[in-house]
């Protein structure tokens, strides 16, 4: 089925109704063939990405917009779901070289990928323009580099006020944004704790927003600290309860990065066969996120939580 995106219009507020659903429901309701999908990196929406992979035969193809991603976008790229990637960075970080991305970009395995590049702030400002409902943002990055040379969407012009060069990047309004945050109430007021990258901006730019959270809390808990609300309910379509929903990555104050696991995943991603074996076991071989967590082991996940909270817990100095 071809997805028909809804035209974004000012004033299109989402209602203040209960929005809690499973990842399976949220993905099947909002993500379809050729969806233009925005993905946040802080925190990584692993539970939602795993579900997209489980529904890959229905979804078939996606265009992806990211700032910088470490690992999670490549879980999608290796399935052949990604036709186009708008990005600033896609690599393994501490886990090293991203062989999934290299295979797609250099050899078209499992599918050729179109790459449209920006700097990190350049891509973030595209989401910012989208969030503000304006056509573009000016910035002082990318000037003099080859980034605009190979990406005609970036316009280097003289600013009409100072007559000095600025780079313009066009607004980005994805059909759907996915992200993982700390907590939300049932109607979709989302609070991030710790650093949250561009998840607030991305939610405002997208037409539909799916947020997985560590905890679902009461409206009164949200009202205790309303300035922690990074994404108010009127942007949000779906709340998915997914404890440990960013594993193998981190969720600040809840658990830290599982480096031993991430390094091992990257080792397996070294070949397409290794990638497929890992996906078969950990993603396609599990029914849902809880099932995945059981396979990884809740003992392991809880140990990551205890270790994180030895060093930091929200509201305390340790």
């Amino acid at each position: 089925m071809r997805y028909q995106p809804i035209e974004a219009k000012p004033g299109r507020a989402k209602p203040a109704v209960k929005k809690v659903m499973t990842a399976q429901e949220a993905v099947s309701r909002f993500i379809h063939e050729n969806t233009y999908l925005g993905m946040s990196v802080s925190a990584a929406p692993a539970a939602l990405i795993w579900e997209i992979v489980r529904q890959k035969d229905r979804i078939k193809s996606l265009d992806l917009t990211i700032t910088s991603q470490i690992g999670m976008s490549s879980v999608l790229i290796g399935t052949g779901l990604v036709r186009k990637l708008e990005m600033a960075y896609n690599w393994g970080g501490i886990e090293g070289e991203d062989k999934v991305f290299r295979r797609a970009a250099e050899k078209g395995i499992p599918r050729p990928i179109e790459i449209e590049e920006y700097s990190n702030f350049g891509m973030a400002m595209r989401w910012q323009a989208g969030a503000l409902g304006i056509p573009y943002m000016p910035l002082k990055s990318m000037l003099g580099s080859d980034i605009p040379k190979y990406n005609p969407k970036i316009k280097v012009v003289d600013d009409p006020y100072t007559n000095r060069p600025v780079a313009l990047v066009p607004a980005c309004n994805p059909d759907v944004a996915i992200m993982h945050c700390a907590r939300a109430d049932e109607i979709g007021n989302v609070q991030a704790l710790g650093l949250y990258g561009n998840s607030d901006t991305l939610a405002r730019a997208a037409r539909h927003v799916i947020v997985s959270v560590e905890e679902i809390v009461t409206q009164d808990e949200i009202r205790r600290f309303p300035n922690l609300t990074t994404i108010p309910y009127y942007y949000v379509d779906a709340i998915v309860h997914a404890p440990f929903g960013a594993h193998w990555r981190e969720s600040t104050y809840y658990y830290h990065h599982d480096l031993a696991y991430g390094l091992d995943v990257y080792r397996q991603f070294g070949t397409q066969e290794g990638y497929e074996a890992w996906i078969d076991k950990y993603v396609l071989g599990t029914a849902d996120w809880d099932d995945y967590c059981r396979l990884v082991g809740y003992d392991r996940l809880n140990r990551l939580r205890l270790s994180e909270q030895k060093y930091q817990k929200f509201g305390e100095v340790r």
Partner: protein, 289 residues
């Protein structure tokens, strides 16, 4: 000052060299890996009032365990600010960042960097990570320090792709392009330390690492490399600098073979992480931090 270390690794020498570039009171934009080691050494020795900013939304963290990426939970530990990337990247564009550390796979004589592709852009021989925040920092930070491996092929006459601007094609080029940051001040590699000539903006060799021969450095640079008439040997790390790095990174995840050790070994990883608390707290206390 603590005396020079007798046993140290090449990455430890590089990190200690970068630590000496950071001045007290500064605000630095730091990625993970070697720059983080340098920043920690600086904070615990010569620059106690220096603070770091981290790309995905943290400022002034004081972690007691090893940060593992720029959006790592560890970067929030005891921070003064945590929140959005827009805050930290916006502040750096507005000129609040004194110094930033960046890297690349290729560099040219004007300190321009490539971290995007080797070969043709549309048909790359090797696809690399892309800019990330490197281009932003190279554009707007007041000064940048470049840390990179020098493998004999990557100091090139012409980059395959210019990801992050140094001095572009020479004097005045940054201003003409509209770049308001100051550009690179040092390149610290596996062979030596380079600076940039104030008039020509061209890189020259200032220091050579202990035991490295000048001819080998020249052979690893594809242009006719200028060498300082007062060429010095890089100052080795002190015992204290090495101790600090090994306390934060006891398995040499960033400065050695730690990643291979930890691949798939959850117990070893958790032991490293859980046991980091007390030695780091003791170290911080001894430094009055």
């Amino acid at each position: 000052m603590s005396k020079y270390a007798e046993n140290y690794s090449l990455p430890e020498l590089m990190a200690a060299t970068v630590a000496r570039e950071i001045r007290d009171g500064e605000l630095a934009f730091i990625g993970v890996g070697m720059p983080l080691m340098a920043a920690t050494v600086a904070k615990f020795t010569t620059a106690p009032n220096f603070n770091m900013m981290v790309e995905y939304g943290a400022a002034g963290p004081s972690p007691r365990r090893l940060p593992m990426c720029v959006n790592c939970a560890v970067n929030c530990e005891r921070a003064y600010y945590t929140g959005s990337q827009r805050e930290v990247m916006g502040a750096q564009q507005a000129g609040f960042v004194d110094v930033a550390c960046i890297s690349g796979a290729q560099i040219d004589r004007f300190g321009n960097l490539n971290s995007s592709v080797i070969g043709e852009y549309k048909n790359p021989k090797v696809r690399l990570a892309g800019s990330g925040g490197a281009n932003d920092l190279a554009s707007s930070a007041n000064r940048t320090i470049i840390m990179m491996r020098q493998d004999g092929r990557n100091f090139v006459e012409k980059l395959d792709y210019l990801t992050s601007p140094g001095y572009l094609d020479g004097p005045g080029a940054r201003e003409r392009a509209g770049l308001h940051g100051g550009g690179p001040v040092a390149v610290v590699t596996t062979m030596g330390v380079y600076r940039f000539d104030a008039e020509t903006c061209e890189m020259y060799l200032e220091k050579i690492h202990p035991g490295v021969e000048l001819e080998k450095v020249k052979a690893a640079v594809k242009w006719d490399l200028a060498v300082s008439p007062n060429l010095e040997v890089t100052e080795p790390p002190t015992e204290e600098q090495v101790m600090i790095m090994r306390t934060l990174d006891p398995l040499a995840v960033y400065l050695g073979t730690g990643r291979a050790t930890l691949t798939g070994d959850f117990e070893a990883f958790m032991k490293m992480f859980e046991n980091s608390y007390q030695p780091m707290v003791d170290l911080m206390k001894s430094k009055g931090l």
